[in-house]
């Protein structure tokens, strides 16, 4: 909402300190987004007349304009706008003019032809918001005169307010001024006219029939008939105000309508009486009914849209949004019907979003206008219009049709005075409450026995319905800063939960492996999961994705990480190690998906042994165990270089290399080692607290054994057998060397193990060691391994 300083000051004497006004508005919750100086005169811009225009064969986007700036000398200017014709008066920025945007007008032209100045648009001069072409000046101005003084442009300041949804009253000057005056303890008054208005003539009764056929959508529909209308230009001050508010001046009637809307927050619409003299029908549209609105656009409606129709049921406007073409004021209009209505906000909002049509009127109806402010608005309309229509007659009668959908005039709510302290933390006495609320239109009764008051809510505050709304008003006018700051002492033990602590430990562990954290997009393109060797059948789809390539919700972190590897490889980054801790969202059996958290670590240019190394370290560090199932390769993994991590039927994750076809699909080169863990399982587990075992005081005995082991026997299987054979004196057994090649038959490899035996109560004897050694050898031989 753009608020002009000069206009605001007509409601109360807010003074000239612009920064102080902005600070007060912000404190009230009317956040000031910007404060802009307008109408600062640009020295050197004069009134000039267009003599003729001329195209140049080598310049398509500009033309040559010849002007006279009052000295009778023809000047030549290049111009990129084509909206002027010979005889028009336009603003000419003469050579050397410093434009508001910092440009200095120079002689430099194009095609070797100089330009003796520049023709200006309204926005370039900061006069109007119209940037569509060169500003065409009123024909009566004197050539060569300074444009700003000739137009009577005043300097002003525009505050751009961010008006929140709970302040429907503040999309108009009156509401803003009321709040500000209350805050500054100033009396509020309604603006006077700049000149004494002619006494309005009361005309004879002229009733208009109104038939409301959608009571729940239209609560009130009033019409005032005025005659003696002459459609002409608005006075300069009205045109200037509208321009600065971002609206284009059109004619005196439309401009007054807009002015009243801005000033009193009361949308209104003036019809040519001739077109609607038989009356109005307010009804819902028929399915697919087409209406041409006054912007000449055909709009197809649905049964949920509300229409204003003439007595023949032909639409003359979409209720609360825009009038129709054909019934609006024209140059020949002499009598008008002024409609001021109240439409149900949610219905208007739904039509706005369905039609994609948002207007100054709909903006206000959507939030809720004062259902009882129509009469004052009609009077103000007539008063302003009489400035240009001295013979204006306001007729009695008209219409004021009300339905059951009309909000009540006075709404009340109970306010328990104790609630103020309970919610705000400060004591506000009842007299102070009354002082704070009265200037913004809220009245309170005397406190009753239970220390409650009845608050009467003004009709212009439809947002306020209950006690807490009133407490907010008290807080705003008491002042948020004045409420103070008290740090509550938390009785709760602040901490991360066990799950959250364990997640952090896992992150630290993965970082120590050398992996960096990626955050890929959780939205995938259709087909990404399939390209990753996974099914898309259990994936959720977005109903309204931004782009189709981001419409599938991931069920795996792998597609995103593989894309990240490919991206980094294409930028020739070395040592690509990435991980992500994130949610996946496979469809579940409940309303919400089976959303869970996953850890995925990928190392480019690494094979399955790296993945196993990661898993064995992860398992040992976090105390997480699982069986390795190499027979059933996880989907998307290399068929013979991967394993499922399982606990019985529960799949904990996967370890190994990514399937080469998948890598090719994602444009990844080299092997990729991957460890994937379902964190929702692992994080919930509390690691066992280890009980200490006393370290043996007796020396250990170590020996190594190397076996030639057929390829069909897994090293892990052999190690498991060796451990069993070692018995309870075996304290450590590990694979420390793997050899293939000369001296070892094909389809086999040499695996060397190191054993350590130790007892807690004695030094082991020679024979015990020899026994253990032969038990190990026998166990290996049973699996087909031979001692080397």
């Amino acid at each position: 909402m753009k608020i002009l300083h000069s206009w605001l000051n007509e409601f109360a004497d807010f003074g000239s300190d612009v920064d102080a006004i902005a600070a007060s508005l912000t404190k009230l919750g009317l956040a000031v987004e910007s404060v802009e100086q307008v109408g600062l005169p640009v020295k050197g811009v004069v009134v000039a007349k267009v003599l003729r225009t001329e195209r140049h064969p080598d310049a398509a986007k500009v033309h040559r304009v010849y002007v006279d700036a009052g000295d009778g000398v023809e000047k030549h200017v290049w111009c990129g706008a084509f909206n002027m014709k010979a005889g028009d008066l336009i603003p000419l920025a003469t050579l050397g003019t410093n434009m508001p945007d910092g440009r200095v007008i120079s002689q430099r032209g194009i095609l070797g032809i100089d330009s003796e100045g520049m023709l200006c648009s309204g926005t370039e001069l900061g006069i109007t918001a119209d940037a569509t072409g060169i500003m065409i000046l009123p024909a009566h101005l004197e050539l060569g005169a300074d444009v700003f003084s000739a137009l009577g442009i005043d300097q002003d300041v525009v505050f751009d307010l961010d008006v929140t949804r709970n302040r429907p009253d503040c999309t108009g000057y009156l509401g803003v001024a009321r709040d500000l005056a209350a805050h500054l303890n100033l009396p509020l008054k309604l603006p006077l006219l700049p000149q004494k208005s002619p006494t309005l003539t009361k005309g004879k009764k002229h009733d208009i029939a109104v038939d409301i056929r959608a009571d729940d959508r239209c609560g009130r529909f009033s019409v005032t008939v005025m005659s003696g209308v002459v459609v002409t230009d608005s006075p300069a001050w009205i045109a200037q105000r509208l321009s600065r508010a971002g609206m284009r001046p059109i004619n005196n009637v439309v401009d007054v309508s807009n002015l009243v809307n801005l000033e009193l927050n009361q949308p209104n619409h003036a019809y040519d009486l001739e077109k609607v003299s038989a009356g109005f029908i307010v009804r819902c549209a028929n399915e697919a009914e087409v209406v041409v609105t006054l912007d000449d656009v055909s709009r197809t409606l649905s049964v949920q849209d509300l229409l204003i129709c003439d007595a023949k049921n032909n639409p003359v406007g979409i209720a609360g949004i825009m009038g129709g073409a054909g019934s609006q004021i024209s140059e020949t209009t002499t009598k008008l019907a002024l409609e001021i209505a109240w439409f149900e906000p949610l219905g208007v909002a739904a039509s706005v979003s369905r039609l994609g049509l948002r207007t100054e009127a709909s903006l206000r109806f959507e939030r809720g206008v004062d259902a009882y402010g129509g009469r004052a608005a009609a009077e103000r309309f007539a008063q302003l219009l009489s400035l240009t229509c001295p013979n204006l007659v306001v007729h009695d009668g008209g219409a004021d049709e009300r339905t059951a959908g009309l909000p009540e005039d006075t709404r009340t709510t109970n306010l328990r005075l104790g609630q103020i302290r309970r919610v705000l933390g400060v004591e506000v006495e009842v007299d102070r409450v009354r002082e704070l609320l009265a200037p913004i239109g809220f009245e309170i009764s005397k406190p009753d026995n239970s220390n409650s008051v009845v608050v009467t809510i003004p009709s212009f505050r439809p947002d306020c319905t209950q006690e807490i709304d009133v407490i907010e008003e008290i807080a705003r006018h008491f002042g948020f800063d004045e409420i103070g700051k008290v740090v509550p002492k938390s009785p709760v033990h602040g901490r991360l939960s066990a799950v959250q602590q364990r997640r952090r430990i896992i992150r630290e562990f993965v970082l120590s492996l050398g992996a960096s954290e990626a955050m890929p997009n959780p939205f995938l393109a259709p087909g990404d999961l399939v390209r990753c060797g996974l099914s898309e059948d259990n994936a959720l789809h977005l109903a309204n994705p931004l782009v189709a390539e981001e419409s599938v919700l991931r069920t795996s972190l792998r597609p995103g990480l593989l894309q990240a590897i490919a991206y980094n490889q294409s930028h020739r980054t070395n040592d690509i190690k990435l991980f992500e801790v994130g949610h996946v969202y496979p469809q579940g059996s409940e309303q919400l998906p089976d959303e869970h958290e996953v850890l995925c670590v990928v190392f480019a240019e690494s094979d399955a042994t790296k993945a196993m190394d990661m898993w064995s370290q992860f398992s040992a560090y976090l105390g997480v165990g699982a069986q390795l199932f190499q027979d059933s390769a996880p989907a998307g993994f290399h068929g013979t270089r991967s394993a499922q991590l399982r606990r019985g039927k529960v799949v904990l994750g996967a370890v190994g290399e990514i399937d080469p076809t998948v890598l090719a699909n994602f444009g990844v080169s080299g092997r990729v080692a991957c460890l994937e863990i379902n964190l929702s399982i692992v994080l919930g587990e509390t690691p066992k607290v280890a009980a200490a075992q006393t370290v043996s005081k007796y020396p250990s005995s170590d020996f190594d054994l190397a076996f030639v082991v057929p390829q069909t026997v897994a090293a892990g299987t052999l190690l498991k057998s060796l451990r069993q054979a070692g018995g309870n004196l075996l304290v450590d057994a590990m694979l420390f060397d793997i050899y293939r090649g000369k001296g070892v038959v094909d389809d086999a490899r040499s695996l060397a193990f190191r054993f350590r035996f130790q007892a807690s109560d004695r030094t082991l004897g020679e024979s015990e060691i020899a026994d253990a050694r032969s038990r190990c050898i026998t166990a290996a031989q049973k699996l087909g391994a031979e001692l080397r």
Partner: protein, 346 residues
Amino acid sequence: MQSDATPDVGTQVEAARLAALTQIASATDAAMVTKIGSELAGKKSVLNTLRASLGKIQDPEARKLAGRVINESAQQVEAALQQRIAEFLVQERAARVASESLDLTEFATTNRRGHSHIVTQAMQRLEDVFVGLGFQVAEGPEVETDFYNFEALNMPRTHPARSEFDTMFIEPFSSEHEANTVLLRTHTSPVQIRVMQSWEPPIYAIMPGRVFRRDTPDATHMPVFHQIEGLVVDRDITFAHLAGIIESFTKAFFGSEFTSRLRPSFFPFTEPSAEFDIKRANGDWIELGGCGMVHPNVLRAGGIDPDEYTGFAFGFGIDRMAKERHNVEDIREMYTNDLRFLRQFS
């Protein structure tokens, strides 16, 4: 006898002493000194032989004198030995150090530690600050129902403010006005309701997490981003407490020279509602987030009686904090997963 024997012993001792010192001086390394030392300490060494024959001297005075002379000489020899060994140890250590010279910059890094994402870093710093202020951390699902994302937050199905959230919906989807619609949460506020439903007051909780809006990515917006939300519900919690927590957080997180203010605003789920701004050291106010007293309807939706308890809530974006802390020009850069970007931040 005495007059004969005394000069004889003295001379022999002096000769033995000089011989030993000469021998020690002539040694060329520590090992040789040690070898000489063990010979001199042996029974057959001259001094020890002389000491052994002391008993033959009859005159007690003379015997005492001879004994003292022998001891003194032996001490001198021992001192010379120790000194010589020490000299050699110093020399040998110096020689070894000189010979073992190593260029410390001559190494190849094998396993570099990975880098945490700057959004995670910011989230963890925020969690730590709030834990210090007595908060616990709550989490909730990213795919949510209409009830938790809107309805329970005082935005019934017809509420106009819903349209401002640019919600992304999950198929099957007919209309956002349908009950049981499933969507991607547009804020972390649904977790407030889940916490109120499952925890008992007093509640001091923060809720960090990923949220989604149907916003075309640009330099300052991503459709997928992160927020942190705070919720306090207890008896006698007031707006002044909200302002107090915001101030404590501001000082703890940004530094003691920072200060905060609240100014009126509007959110459907809080009332009174406020924006909170923080003031930088240079005097500029920057807008940080939204907050307010939990609306009675929201407390009720969470199963909490507003006549018994009051509460406040606050929330703000995490990505912007990470972006500003590290002067990232374009927020999209944070999500390219480019290791050249990620590796800049330790």
